[in-house]
Amino acid sequence: MGYRLIINGKSYDADVDGEMPLLWAMRDALGIVGPKYGCGIGYCGACTVHMDGVSVRSCQVPVSAIGPARITTIEGVGAGDVGRRVQAAWSALDVAQCGYCQAGQIMSATALIAANPKPSDADIDAAMAGNLCRCATYVRIRAAIKLASGQPQEA
């Protein structure tokens, strides 16, 4: 019984109801706690993961809808070149305050740069608008995306 999930290149058997959102299957059943709960309605982005490289809100994806898709979380995103660069930029610029939103921010930023290697300010606004930062570290998030994508940062 249950669902076979491929998360960060590893295969897991999740013995959960199909309607359980991926976020809770990961956090409570599988012990993958990097993706965070912030709202449960798709409005904060703290739970962001990649499904076959595309950003999704894991609180909105029932386990039954995943099928063979490969899931990447903050724990595994550093295995890719873009993810590694994004994490390095986040560290170099000391982006976080409390840090709670940052897993989701890094996942969204990685998906952005993977699809659009030199995002403009408008691209950044569009791609990151779904990720709330209650501590309002937006100035540094923008700067870190510029750094990770090899573009000059404004002060």
Binding site: V16, D17, M20, P21, W24, R27, D28, A29, G31, V33, G34, P35, K36, Y37, G38, C39, G40, I41, Y43, C44, A46, T73, I74, E75, G78, Q87, W90, S91, A92, D94, A96, Q97, C98, G99, Y100, C101, Q102, A103, I106, I124, D125, A126, M128, A129, G130, N131, L132, C133, R134, C135, A136, T137, Y138, V139, R140, I141, R142, E154, A155
Partner: protein
């Protein structure tokens, strides 16, 4: 986060040292009698451990809520210890006031209250390592020097690392605190350097750090549903239906004992009635909860609404005030002589903390003892609350402080901690309680709403001579609701010769409490907006008018309420210069506004550049901040982040945040109807720290208050509409609305 008190007590140092796993373990406690209440001494201390391999472990004593003290406090120790930051490992302390003294994240106090002591911890350890080297080599201490975690003796060319010396150092005599010499700031190599947060590598790789990430063997997950009308009791609940849901282990009603007296949040704090559902995942607990079908008992505050509060406030304003809080000169007589007069009423709403990590706590009750993992800003208060509510001895409760996914004052309350403790004890298993976002938004201790009915007058020379504020806020009798009071020293008191602050109270059945820069976050909006109105009435430039109001005073009043007008003039002039105030030609629909505010011992002046579209939409383009928090910024990276975050937080409050009460309950439920500012609306924020010769003070809060009125004043400059009520309503800024 009550008003910061900055005593500078003379402290007698008591230092304990001992061997720890072959290294040096140093505990430094100081007895701060002047800081203690009722003559009881209060201990403050911190720990350093040096291992033979040279790794230095520094314990961070205070809760980390994103304000950066888990890094900046250890930096103070590391500096005087004279090690490289790369040798340092930071470890979060548990709650242990007997060893660490005050462990609180609140009031922007971590820097000012620890600046002296923690540097002395480092200097003490360094002195003992020097002593160890000098004894080993038979060379005078005065000929030995330290650098980068090693002692050297130039004449003989000898050198030993702290790792090599630590075992010997542990046996050395602890130096007399009076003999310690602290570094000349010119020699600082860590303090004053931008250093990334100690937890950064874990944050960017998603390691478990937060309260919500705690996992224990055999742990169950809990939800707790409380009445939408605060503190109403459970009349009935379908517990059997909840228990029939797959994965649910327990469902039960909680009938709490009477609340602990004197809690920070008043009678609505602590453990409130509700229904707990415990399951093998949080999702299952939530599914079970959905079956509860709870009927709540009648409750007297179920008739309260925000609209009624507004009506009530206007009625109170039309009547004589209940009380006077401050009176200087003769306001009424002075107003008669004024050549320009302004009258205006201001209002601001309840708002929520909305930490991104919802309230949660994990508890394990075994053998009569309780172990708690909690994101909390005030762990010791939580321990006392849990002890009194559950009837346990405080000594039988251990609290581990996790990293907090935001604080902002919310986690000064430990209501979620006592809930988790109660549920864990009743469940017979370790339990992680997690609130839903809806629980979190609807069971906060809100920033109280408030109303100010103001009159002011300016004399023909452009001097502000009369000011009266009838402040309508919440409370009962003489007692203000938590965080609803106003300090009678609040600016412009002491700067206007004829000044009156009156107050009237509305009873309230909604929990309130401190939110980032409590009091200030609302009062700055009122005061600095009304000053702008008066400047306009006097046909004066807003900055010139403010400079005149500050006069040529230096320090006004006495500690702890002293106000340094010179420091405020300094930041005001700096903000004017940075922003090109009065020298920049602005396009149609754009405007600049200025404001300043003093709180948490910090002086801040800010200029906002904003535009208002024909649809009334506000866009903030840039904010310039001039700050004076003393002579030393401990960690410039964290400091800049705090200021930029506070400023954007303030803009977020002004543009979108409002909690509405209807039928005694909160209307808003989640981020769909309680919008926080997002990336596309985040402006650039340029910050300048003026270094003045005063002790360093904290940065978690004081940058927030002035941005709200600076934005309101910029909107007036842009479109001619005065914002007198928050949040800013775009409909009121449309040209059609102006004509009406």
């Amino acid at each position: 986060m009550s008003r910061t008190r900055l005593e500078n007590p003379s402290r007698r140092g008591v230092i304990k040292a001992g061997a720890a796993a072959g290294g040096l373990a140093l505990s430094f406690s100081t007895l701060a009698s002047a800081h203690a209440k009722g003559g009881r001494d209060q201990a403050l201390s911190a720990y350093v451990r040096i291992a033979p391999d040279g790794i230095v472990t520094i314990v961070a004593k205070n809760p980390e809520i994103g304000q950066g003290v888990m890094t900046s406090l250890p930096m103070m120790i590391a500096e005087e210890l004279d090690v490289d930051w790369s040798q340092v490992r930071v470890e979060q302390a548990d709650n242990n006031p007997a060893v660490f003294g005050r462990q609180v994240a609140g009031g922007s106090t971590s820097t000012p209250l620890n600046w002296e002591d923690l540097r002395r911890v480092g200097a003490t350890a360094r002195a003992m390592l020097l002593d160890a080297a000098s004894q080993t080599w038979g060379t005078p201490v005065g000929e030995c020097a330290t650098a980068s975690g090693a002692v050297s003796h130039a004449a003989s060319g000898r050198k030993a690392t702290y790792g090599q010396l630590c075992a010997k150092a542990a046996t050395c005599v602890i130096p007399d605190p009076k003999s310690l010499r602290l570094k000349d700031p010119a020699d600082y190599r860590i303090i004053g350097q931008p250093i990334a947060q100690a937890d950064t590598p874990k944050i960017v790789t998603g390691k478990p750090l937060f309260g919500i990430d705690v996992r224990l063997p055999g742990m169950l997950y809990a939800t707790y549903e409380k009445a939408p009308v605060f503190a109403a009791k459970v009349a009935a609940a379908d517990l059997a239906a909840a228990r029939s849901v797959k994965g649910v282990r327990k469902a039960f009603i909680v009938e709490p004992p009477p609340p602990m007296a004197g809690g920070l949040g008043g009678p609505l704090s602590g453990l409130l009635p509700g229904v707990a559902v415990v399951a093998d995942s949080w999702w299952s607990a939530k599914k079970g909860r959905e079956q509860l079908n709870i009927r709540w008992a009648e409750h007297p505050t179920a008739t309260q609404t925000s609209a009624d509060f507004d009506v009530r406030a206007a009625a109170l304003a039309a009547s004589p005030p209940e009380r006077n809080l401050r009176k200087d000169g003769d306001f009424t007589a002075a107003l008669k002589t004024a050549s320009a007069k302004v009258e205006a009423s201001y209002a601001y709403p309840f708002i929520s903390h909305a930490t991104l990590e919802p309230q949660n706590c994990t508890a394990r009750f075994t053998g009569g003892k309780l172990e708690i993992w909690a994101p909390t800003q005030m762990p010791e208060m939580g321990r006392q609350l849990v002890a009194s509510t559950l009837g346990l001895k405080p000594d039988d409760i251990t609290i581990h402080m996790t990293r907090c996914g935001g604080g902002f004052g919310r986690r000064l309350m430990n209501d979620y901690m006592v809930e988790a403790a109660w549920i864990a004890r009743a469940s017979g298993a370790p339990v992680k309680l997690l609130w839903s976002r809806e629980d979190d938004l609807r069971h906060d201790f809100y920033r109280p709403a408030g109303y100010h009915f103001l009159q002011g007058g300016v004399d023909p020379s452009g001097r502000l001579i009369a000011w009266r504020d009838h402040f309508v806020t919440f409370g009962q009798g003489e007692q203000f609701a938590s965080s609803a009071q106003m300090n009678p020293l609040e600016f412009p008191a002491r700067f206007v010769p004829n000044y009156a602050l009156d107050v009237s109270l509305i009873p309230l059945g909604v929990p309130t409490g401190p939110l980032r820069a409590p009091g200030s976050n609302a009062i700055a909006f009122v005061v600095q907006s009304f000053i702008d109105e008066l400047a306009l009435a006097a046909s004066a430039d807003p900055i010139e008018f403010r400079l005149k109001l500050l006069g040529d005073h230096g320090l006004v009043g006495e500690a702890p309420g002293a106000y340094h007008a010179g420091r405020m003039r300094g930041v005001l002039k700096a903000a004017a210069e940075m922003s090109g105030w009065g020298k920049t030609a602005l396009a149609h629909g754009m405007g600049m506004g200025v404001a300043f505010h003093f709180s948490h011992q910090g002086y801040f002046a800010e200029v906002v550049l904003a535009s208002v579209s024909d649809q009334g939409e506000v866009k903030v383009h840039k904010v310039w901040v001039a700050a004076d928090v003393g002579r030393q910024i401990v960690n410039p990276s964290g400091a800049l982040n705090q200021v930029q975050g506070s400023v954007i937080d303030g803009i977020s409050e002004a543009l979108g945040q409002k909690i509405t009460i209807e039928a005694g309950r909160v209307v808003e439920s989640n981020f769909n109807d309680y919008p926080l500012l997002r990336m596309p609306d985040a402006p650039k924020v340029e910050v300048k720290f003026l270094k003045t010769d005063f002790p360093p003070t904290g940065l978690g809060e004081p940058a927030l208050p002035p941005v709200v009125p600076a934005l309101a004043n910029a909107i007036f400059a842009a479109c001619g509409v005065r914002v007198r009520s928050l949040p800013i309503d775009p409909a009121a800024l449309k040209p059609t609305a102006k004509a009406a």
